[in-house]
Amino acid sequence: MTTKQMKGFEDSYVVEGKMALPYTYFAGSVGSKFITTIRDEKKIMGVKCPTCNVVYLPPRQVCDKDFTDIRDNWVDVGTSGMVTNFTVVRYDDKHLPRKAPFVLALIKLDGADTPFMHILEECKLEDVKIGMKVEAVFAKETTNTILDIDHFKPVAERASIHERNAGRKKWVADAEPAIQGKQKGGKPDMSKPVIIAAALTGAATMRNQNPSVPYTPAEFATEAYKCWKAGAAMVHVHAREDNGMPTHDHERIRATYNAIKDKCPELIVNLSSAVGMGKTTEQRISQIIAVKPDMASLNTNTMNFSIVDRKTGKIFIEYVFENTFTMLQEFGKAMEENGVKPEIECYDMGGLDNTLLIAKQGFFSSPMNFNFVWGVAGGQSFRADSFIAMMNALPANANFTTCGVGPEEFPCIMQSCLLGGHMRVGLEDNIKMPNGELAKGSYELVEVAVNIADSLGRAVATTDEAREIMGVRKK
């Protein structure tokens, strides 16, 4: 060392020392069971405090908050969980369990309430994220320590719908045109991929009901993208003002439409021709003509469209939704003339019959695309036999999808998927997940629809396939 010695300290120098202390650590009965269960059974066990309802991991003898003796309340917390925080160790030291750099993560296992620290491997440092799903990899050679879990690794996530679609053959229509008879006699055509549509907002769902409802064009774009990622081929849009009010303003609608298209060019965008309550006929159709979306909704009868307390029957808002034959005809023609494929909304069998009547004029292009809407106060409630009756009344070659208000959403889309039809979900129709929790966004409801398709073995339609099925031209 070349340190300059202070005057009077010439004799001072540094002595190398060493300290070695043997010690024995006893894990105790609770700690031992924790370790031996990991070692022998490859199971991770915590203890649950019945007083404060917390599952502790690592386990402990007493709850340190309320002093409840919890040593016997063992619960299996599973072997997978989520990273709640992490750090990258970038220095080497002999006491460290790995060579640097490596990741130490706080992991909350699925059955535990407290996170505990372990090593995260089999993953690039830059890919580690808070919230990522991980699972335990148990050590081959055990040491009676917590390293009997050798490390955690990222859970191989289920391939995304897009990866799965990329891995299958693209659907093409049979050379022989499909006939409606195929769906008759209880033999649905399951060969077609199922189109999932996400109705992002509607005219009435507000943020106080579900904070994920998009208002601004950017929010629409983000929501639409998430839905597309989750498996939706189409979004249905009622544009909103910044304050959430439904708008018929062309610029706002166009901005919303373009924002979605910019973010997600493939996605089919279906605009509402209802817009919202109290809009004039002109306001309703002119925006469609102005924006010329891929698709637009076409409503089929004048009906009550009210808000009624479903428990007491008390009427909150009385409203008549006007869709005269003339409007049906003019809107239909306008759409077809502007290259906008109509989605024909049927709130009951009458609406379907209205359409079939007008269709005799011959301006609807084939195939026609119907949406059976269930549960509007003024329309019909979902009934399985009504569904089949409506399906059987469809013209040859027509497609059908369905949506239901509130809890009717899930049974109706499941039946549609089962019968070879398509599915529409989203916050417009329903704000909750099947378990009653608020959906984090329409995309979560799209995931439910994807799961339904998966359980029935139906492929989920890509945007290309959806265009081909529904006859929507690419713009």
């Binding site: 009077g8 300290f9 010439e10 004799d11 001072s12 120098y13 540094v14 002595v15 190398e16 020392g17 060493k18 300290m19 070695a20 202390l21 043997p22 010690y23 024995t24 650590y25 006893f26 894990a27 105790g28 009965s29 700690g31 031992s32 069971k33 370790i35 031996t36 009676n144 320590t145």
Partner: protein
Amino acid sequence: MAEYWGVKVEDIFNSMQERFRPEGAKDLDTVFGYDIKDEGKWKLTVKDNKIKIEKTDDLSGSVATMQADGETFVGVNTGNVDATNAFMGGKVKVEGDMAAFGKTGKLFRKFVIAQKEMTTKDYLADMFATIVPRFKVSEAAGLDASFAFDLGGPDGGKWTVFIKDNVCTVTATIEGKPTVTLEFNDAKDYVDFILGKIDSQSLMAGGKAGAKGDLNMMASKWPVLFEKYKDPLAGNVPQQELIVLKKTIGLNEKFSTGPIMGKFLKGLKEKKIYANKCPQCGRMQLPPREVCADCRVRVNEIVEVGPKGEVRYMDIVYYAMPDPLTGAVRDTPYGGINVLMDGCKGNETLPHFIRKDQIEKIQMGWNEKKGTRVRPVWEENRIGDIWDIKYFEIDE
């Protein structure tokens, strides 16, 4: 032969061959003796990773012989008696090489008491005999009830448990009108039920058991009125494995000597021993220290003392302690001495060690008047460390 905890002394010896761990006998070539009072003598020969155990009166050639009575011996081997306590309290003695005998500890796996059988009759007797001791008075306030048990089968019987005025009594009949009566077709099912081997639902569903009277009393009150029955054999099932982690923590350290201690240590390199003298009280501090703690003044005057001196105090250290630098254990016995170096006075003695073979020649303890004259024996290669003095030896 007497039994202790159900185990005979010879059971321990007879199972040695089976419990032997060859890895614990590595490089061992020795003979141990066991002299168990009123039971006999055994000789254990360890050689070539094998053992031989024989009952013999001839313990000649043993490097160490353990003496104990049968109860202590069985107790220590079965974990019922604390080995250290038995040794400390004189119940276990070792004649001969104590350190060598310590190695027997690693030769064998733990002795496990063989499981004894208990019949249904044994269990029933035990279950009802322990009812009163298991009774929780605190739960019985204001309770006046009787619980009858009608247990069928070859081992069955009838019992009634009465609770009244905070007192619990048991009769081996069914008397009066019980609050609730529990009936089992086969008493064995009842035993299994209490031991937790079978659940009540499958018993009821299978028609093997039933109850009459106030069912709620049996279902809700009975379990809180009594401590849970403990299976006397449960102690014999292998105990939970308790995790023990052994480690030696080793840390590298750096210490700054400061100018005064630095001077002392550097002096050793030059075969010089330095003290320093307090300017106020005049005491000589050895090793020298920055300040005099008595006078609270800085002490600068360095004075060379020694190198010879007189032993003022000596301790013989017999117990083995770990060297704090390595964790390894020192050789014992050794003699720790305090030397009053020539030129020092009062209490300023230097602690160090005496040459091993001269321990006997030095008076133990204090020597207030005149102690043995000693001189330092220096290391060839000195580095400025207290070990530059290897030890002191008698200056003849």
